[in-house]
Symmetry: C2
Subunit: 595 residues, 2 copies
Amino acid sequence: MGEKMGNLRRTIMCGELRPEHDGKEVVLMGWVQRERNLGSIIFMDLRDTTGIAQIVFDNTVSSEVFNKAEKIRSEFVLAIKGKVRIRQSINKEIPTGEVEVLVDELKILDESETTPIYIKDDDNVSESMRLKYRYLDLRKPSMQERLKLRAKTAKVVRDFLDENSFIEIETPMLTKPTPEGARDYLVPSRVNPGEFYALPQSPQLMKQLLMVAGMDRYFQIVKCFRDEDLRANRQPEFTQIDIEMSFVDIEDIISINEQLLYRLFKELKGVEIDLPIKRITYNEAMERYGVDKPDLRFGFELKDISDLVKNCGFKVFSGAIENNGAVRGINVKGYGDKFTRKDITALEDYAKTYGAKGLAWIKITEEGVTSPIAKFFSEEEFTNIIERMEGEKGDLILFVADKKSIVFDSLGNLRNEVAKRLNIIDPNDMKLVWVTEFPLFEFDEEENRYVAKHHPFTHPMEEDIELLESHPEKVRAKAYDIVINGDEMGGGSIRINNSTLQKKMFSALGFTEEEAWDKFGFLLEAFKYGTPPHGGIAYGFDRLIMLLSNTSNIRDVVAFPKTQSATCLMTNAPTVVSHKQLQEVHIQTTKNQNI
Amino acid sequence: MGEKMGNLRRTIMCGELRPEHDGKEVVLMGWVQRERNLGSIIFMDLRDTTGIAQIVFDNTVSSEVFNKAEKIRSEFVLAIKGKVRIRQSINKEIPTGEVEVLVDELKILDESETTPIYIKDDDNVSESMRLKYRYLDLRKPSMQERLKLRAKTAKVVRDFLDENSFIEIETPMLTKPTPEGARDYLVPSRVNPGEFYALPQSPQLMKQLLMVAGMDRYFQIVKCFRDEDLRANRQPEFTQIDIEMSFVDIEDIISINEQLLYRLFKELKGVEIDLPIKRITYNEAMERYGVDKPDLRFGFELKDISDLVKNCGFKVFSGAIENNGAVRGINVKGYGDKFTRKDITALEDYAKTYGAKGLAWIKITEEGVTSPIAKFFSEEEFTNIIERMEGEKGDLILFVADKKSIVFDSLGNLRNEVAKRLNIIDPNDMKLVWVTEFPLFEFDEEENRYVAKHHPFTHPMEEDIELLESHPEKVRAKAYDIVINGDEMGGGSIRINNSTLQKKMFSALGFTEEEAWDKFGFLLEAFKYGTPPHGGIAYGFDRLIMLLSNTSNIRDVVAFPKTQSATCLMTNAPTVVSHKQLQEVHIQTTKNQNI
């Protein structure tokens, strides 16, 4: 039914009750976490967003209140008034465990049916049930803490950027579709029949235009959209901390972002990270870790043995090098005894998912060296390989021979996988690294041309500009990623602010001038009127919160997330809509139609 | 061409230069506002986001730098190094007017073609040019100040709400289409063919679900979307300060919002508003001002003379009352001599745009009373009317006779118009008022049924609940608007948290239970599991910034706004997209097709 609060007003939050309140009259409001009826006395745990308080109904104090309390079940919403007293049996598990409130006034503000999921952190219910009943799932303290951490992180970011003269500026959500349009969410226009907006994949062009506009330092915590096949940790809409500055080069951007990161880890994790943050070039990252987002919390670095095996009798190795490939290995130092042959086969299967054809290995134990490939090598070759890999007793050495991209990809990921299986990673260890000097281009096999690795406005490194036409593959970009514990948390670049260089860039990408204007006309037009040197960075805000709250599930840091098939199980969005609605925006669906 | 900054780094902003910097070497970067070449000396105004600094090139100091400077035109981007010195002729118009910088190092970071619009506030260029070259328009100091004010306002709001335990929580942009769907922007789904998301018109349901989830105090500064015919001061996407609280009634919400408003006006306008803010019921607002968002900066209140004229000989008046209408007037006290007959005819034309059939009037001057309607009344009737209207020498009294809604609408708007024409409104005068006790329903002529004036979850006033079935038109809502200077800045309500009452509400709206579940199923399902009393408010953020920055053009407070036909003149969004893109999201356009 639901009683009214009337004149009752909350005087304190459940989680704030302490022995110092002994004897004080308080009003609490919240949900019943559980109730135990002992016959003439009823104990209840009352929950609000700050925690749990024990409240007591005593038949000898007021039978009227007691009788009403007997009807109360879990998740009823109550307002109670009563006196705080010290508990007889103290509960040291919760901060309010030394006190309880003896109720003398009770209002049942709302009743509750039995909830389809339990309101507790370790309920083991399926994620689809959690998403369907998200409003119940969000009652769990862990979920509320994550949303609070998310809000607090945004606050710290905004405070820091505000102190440093950055202006938060809102850019449009209804934007122009991008030229290729892959990944764009389209929005039909009612007023302009047959025309479409796109939801922004990022405010990249807008923030550059704000620099042209002289806004000097811009930021925004902003929703972005990508309509793509959703991997485990993606959402169709995600949040970005977007930053852009004028009159800067790489060092200026890195420097202010290091201060931002310092502040974030200090205020949210209580961790003081070392400044300056370590840096590694893209090439070094690939050579040593096989990936461009290395996890530096453990060793097992890649080593190249190509020169040692190029003429060896083992065709798998020498053949790979003949085909312009490479042979590299990692030494799982000191953990050899953790891997049985069966485990190694499992690792091989894992490596194969990244394209490796197999996994060669050497294990060094007290008893000597075991290796299925030993027989293919001369003793000198084998000794040289072990020496190069710094092999010692207790080690397991793993090799992949293939074309370079597969060697890097499979060994780089295998390196992470091995550390994960060994369970040697401390989740509270924070290892930050800037990855710099990314290639400006990458070759798109499908389109058979170079495409911009970041975007076509990324500035090449000065010393590589002369290579733009002759050796585009060698040109490095003024681009940088901040990688934390093997995850790319953010990335950015210095942008081109010079039309001659921009033209060279488009030509390297294979665009005619006309095509370039077709695609980016309004930006090129803007660049005619005095563009400052500028650059910026964007952080994945959801990923940052995942890191700060130690979860690997992006849906744990989003209030109302979508599933991997981009649906909302709570509201059932997306849904079919009426023909009339479609007609009003001048479209029809092609579902079940031959087109 | 564009030189590089090299090792030059900005040491101070242009607008910060003061006499205390005399003799100091500084590096400035910015745009050339204007240049004056006096032959052997060149003066330039260099502009950045903080202001203007005068820089000087002297041929006798460095002819190399001087020669380079001779090529510089307006809006070139420069980096200069030089010594600050006191000017010979001081410019008191600008804060940096006492000093200048004698340049000894110059880098032309980028050149500029002649800009299509001038970079100055009073350029008189058409708004469409301003929107097309928005990045140039935004170089104007007034535009930058507005965007800074907008950012600062958001910061003050966030700081205040954070201090008061509100958690900022992001709600989805890709939501479920609303049942009727009018005004929804639809977004086709790639993954779910034939299905659509909608962009949120407001996070109303989500914020209520966050209260069900026990988040206690929520807020968000959030983009909302309405696809409707755009009036002058609307944008298809707009920003809302959205707030919701649990365990509260009207007074609690009004109280914390008054503190928020106090803080806003104090920090952003330097004005201390009086607390508590005046309140007026909806009925009183209509009776006295004819509108539900009264401007209290001037008088001219409506007065009812229906009882005096119901039996009079003037058929226009008595007939209106016979038809269940009314006759009301306003007294433009003391300003009678400002209105000629021609002016009064213009006012009549204005009133007619709100449905009035005519405008009767009485003017009282030194010479006596002038009125085209005097002849229709007995002397006693006429005296009574003037007495009721408190008519004195110098007054102009204006009347409308019609059905009540037209009387209110035309006289209420006429009242505002008269004040505007008299130019008696001080734009710095801030008159805030809460309008309360709104009707819960309004009758929708088109649908021939009652519809919710706010939304179907608005709580009726307790004492009116019994009228829900018998006299829905009499039921008042626990709803409130904050009106500032005649504009509705925000509004909200206490929500229903009781399923019995909710059912009554739906039944009053003419929904069957099935229809109600169809439309709002997930919210009704949520309400089964313990819903706290809750309510909230939403402010129009764009309107608030317009008020704080004294502009009546919403496009002046949005970085990249749309036109009234919902297009972006800078990017040309929306645009046609390729057949392939439409195919991927399973739609086709119906433009130029017979459907």
